[in-house]
């Protein structure tokens, strides 16, 4: 798989994730879309690492794994907290701070 | 990909799948029969295959005593599951409901792919040994010519990340519980799914923790290499099996694996006395059968994992094949040969003996698991969690630190 195809797929997945983040109302789906964006980056890293024959890209992917795991743990804690306050996780219900 | 490699791979696949599926069927019978024998009962003995015999006064008499001590109950179980009505309740989430059973079966079957069940072998030499004894020398030459002296593995997939692959497959198995429970749209199922998910995630944590000590000892996650490293003998009589290095973790890891399998005493997600059937309450016919089959296959898979990590895999102490490259590299003063306590034996004897020893160990472990299942009462939910987080996790952490210190000191 040539590198520009790798980048094209990664770009497509990144944009899918970004669209999910901006267009979905369900907070959990928004978090899932963020995971999708992180995965597209992982994909690009693995593709480039394969192209360059350098395992450093894999180390970077491992770091992103750690970040993703922490992000989901914290994100889910926040979701649970928000659900306790409003009995809902639709982000439209959390617009109190809006001017 | 040359032809001999493909042939060996297909034979391996046939062996693994045949072994697992048959174990899954047999264990349904073993479970009942062993439970009966342990409780002074007789157990399953009614299913029979009718045999027509000529009656005395002409006509046919059906002989109905061909029961084979109840072995056909496994068969009738399968037939019953297939023949029953596959009812999908109207309130379930159809898509998730239908895919959930596959998340139970596929990981259970796939996990066995990385377990070495006979070690490295030379099929050409082995087959010509066997055929030479029978007297088919020309056929032996043909097969020897086909395979050559090349060494192949009696293992489905020789992965570099073997042990991680087992963990990956195991973690995918959690989805069966979670998705089945959620899709059933039933309070019992959802409770079972919540319990199952939390129990399996928790026990996966210290399942990884408890095996780390062994990984420190072996220094690899390659199952093939781990198996080979257990072929040595210390001081002439102590086999260098994992259970010798990590006796405590043997029990902890076994506990974790049994908790992953969700059977008594860890049957919180199913809990007949509280949750009807837990996460698969709404399932019927073969979909429910897939869950049951996965459970029984997993007994065999757990035994395979335990044997290959802790009980010397396929090794018989003191028996070495010419293909054990790790062993011969450790002992440069010896010349590579097929030895049985020093005596030279044919290659085929060693390999067949090894496969048999692996199978016997696996069967013994299956027996131990079923013994446990029929001995212990079930834990309460909080007891399961406390045992996991407050007892087994600290033990495995302390063990890891001690192991690392000892390994560092010895190096």
């Amino acid at each position: 798989m040539p590198l520009d195809h790798v980048f094209a797929f990664a770009f497509f997945m990144l944009m899918t994730g970004a669209a999910g983040v901006m267009l979905r109302r369900n907070l959990i789906v928004v978090l899932m879309s963020v995971e999708l964006m992180l995965n597209s980056v992982n994909f690009a890293f693995v593709g480039v690492a394969r192209q360059l024959g350098d395992s450093a890209g894999h180390v970077m992917v491992l770091m992103i794994f750690v970040v993703a795991a922490v992000e989901v743990a914290i994100g889910m804690a926040i979701v649970v907290n928000m659900f306790r306050q409003r009995e809902s996780i639709a982000i439209d219900n959390f617009n109190v701070m809006r001017g | 990909m040359d032809a001999p490699f493909v042939v060996v791979a297909i034979l391996n696949l046939a062996f693994v799948l045949g072994f697992l599926i048959n174990m899954g069927g047999m264990l349904t019978w073993v479970e009942r029969k062993q439970g009966a024998v342990m409780a002074n009962r007789i157990g399953a003995n009614r299913a029979y295959i009718p045999i027509p015999l000529p009656a005395k006064g002409g006509g046919i008499r059906w002989y109905k005593r061909f029961t084979m001590i109840g072995l056909f109950h496994a068969l009738t179980d399968g037939l019953k599951m297939l023949a029953k009505e596959d009812y999908t309740p109207p309130f379930v989430d159809k898509f998730v409901y239908n895919i959930a059973p596959w998340f139970a079966v596929v990981p259970a079957l796939v996990t066995f792919a990385v377990i070495p069940f006979g070690g490295p072998f030379q099929p050409g030499i082995m087959m010509s040994d066997v055929l030479g004894v029978v007297g088919l020398n020309s056929a032996a030459d043909v097969i020897h010519g086909f395979f050559g002296d090349t060494t192949y593995q009696l293992q489905l997939a020789n992965l570099n990340v073997g042990l991680l692959f087992i963990f990956a497959a195991g973690s995918t198995g959690i989805f069966a519980t979670a998705l089945a429970g959620w899709a059933s749209n039933n309070k019992f199922s959802t409770m079972g799914a919540l319990r199952g998910a939390s129990q399996m995630i928790s026990y996966e944590v210290f399942m990884g923790m408890s095996i780390l000590g062994l990984l420190v000892v072996y220094g690899t996650v390659d199952m093939n290499l781990i198996a080979q490293m257990q072929g040595d003998v210390h001081f002439g009589f102590i086999p260098s099996w994992g259970v010798v290095y990590q006796p405590v973790m043997f029990f902890v890891f076994l506990t974790a694996l049994m908790a992953e399998n969700k059977r008594v005493p860890f049957d919180m997600p199913e809990a007949e006395s509280e949750l009807v059937a837990g996460y698969f309450t709404e399932y019927s016919a073969m979909k429910m059968g897939l869950f049951m089959m996965a459970e029984f296959i997993e007994i065999a898979v757990i035994s395979g994992i335990m044997v290959s990590l802790f009980l010397g895999a396929y090794h018989i102490p003191g028996v070495h094949a010419v293909t054990d490259s790790w062993y011969w590299a450790q002992h440069p003063e010896l010349t590579a040969a097929n030895t049985f306590w020093g005596a030279e034996v044919p290659h085929a004897v060693v390999i067949i003996g090894r496969v048999l020893s692996f199978l016997i160990k696996v069967v013994l472990f299956c027996w131990l698991q079923i013994l446990t299942r029929w001995t212990l009462p079930k834990f309460r939910y909080d007891q399961v969690m406390r045992l996991g987080w407050k007892v087994l996790l600290p033990i495995s952490l302390v063990n890891l630190v001690i192991t690392a210190a000892v390994v560092l000191a010895l190096n």
Partner: protein, 227 residues
């Protein structure tokens, strides 16, 4: 095995007596003239909370039973080959239930109903509806008719019991003023069709208590007069 006049195991009275005795309380003692004492179990020690020693001792127990029974089965197998095996050689306490009844199966069990007969083979029942009224499951249905004999007021034209609804409480037996309905110990009341679980008068008027193992006929298998 000797049996008493009810066909029971000779140990049966002692078993009943043992169950009637006051049972000792959990981890407490019972002495005559004193009150029961209940003690909660003490908190588990650290060693006990590991569960492992207790589990291993339990496994030892069950494994010893297992191997003992396997030895017995092995002996049975060799006897079976020579054709001298008996059921007792299996070493199991199992009774093949529907084929073999326990000797202490209680003769005062409440099972299938029977309508008692007069001397001329008519049912004793006078269709007074007492049993149908007393029935908590509403499973008795009676249609009354005028009896030709002026001494007897009524007789049941139909007397149906939905045996699948019946809870075998015995209230009909208690309520009957003429001892026309009784409950027999027969508990093998099974069928494959729900319609056949309605027992009509003719069927209720007969009962074969000496059903042998070879016949092994369930009530639903018998020809029904009203079918």
């Amino acid at each position: 095995m000797s049996e008493d006049k009810f066909g029971r195991n000779e140990d049966f009275p002692s078993i009943v007596q043992a169950q009637l005795l006051p049972q000792p309380a959990y981890q407490g003692e019972f002495t005559e003239g004193s009150l029961f004492t209940y003690r909660n179990p003490s908190k588990l020690t650290w060693m006990e909370r590991l569960y492992l020693p207790a589990i291993l001792s339990g496994l030892k127990l069950t494994a010893s039973v297992f191997f003992g029974n396997m030895a017995q089965w092995t002996i049975w197998f060799f006897k079976w080959i020579t054709g001298r095996a008996t059921e007792a050689d299996k070493g199991a306490t199992t009774i093949y239930y529907p084929d073999v009844m326990r000797p202490d199966f209680s003769p005062i069990n409440r099972g299938k109903h029977i309508l008692t007969l007069r001397e001329n083979d008519d049912p004793q029942c006078v269709a007074c509806y007492m049993c149908a009224t007393a029935c908590p499951a509403f499973c008795i249905h009676i249609v009354a008719g005028e009896h030709p004999d002026p001494q007897i007021e009524k007789y049941p034209v139909r007397f149906d019991i939905e045996i699948d609804k019946c809870i075998f409480c015995g209230y009909c037996e208690e309520a009957c003023p003429v001892d026309a309905i009784r409950l027999t110990p027969d508990v093998h009341l099974v069928d494959f069709k729900r319609e056949r679980m309605v027992y009509d008068k003719e069927f209720l008027m007969s009962w074969n208590p000496t059903r042998s193992q070879e016949e092994h006929v369930y009530p639903g298998d018998r020809p029904r007069t009203s079918d």
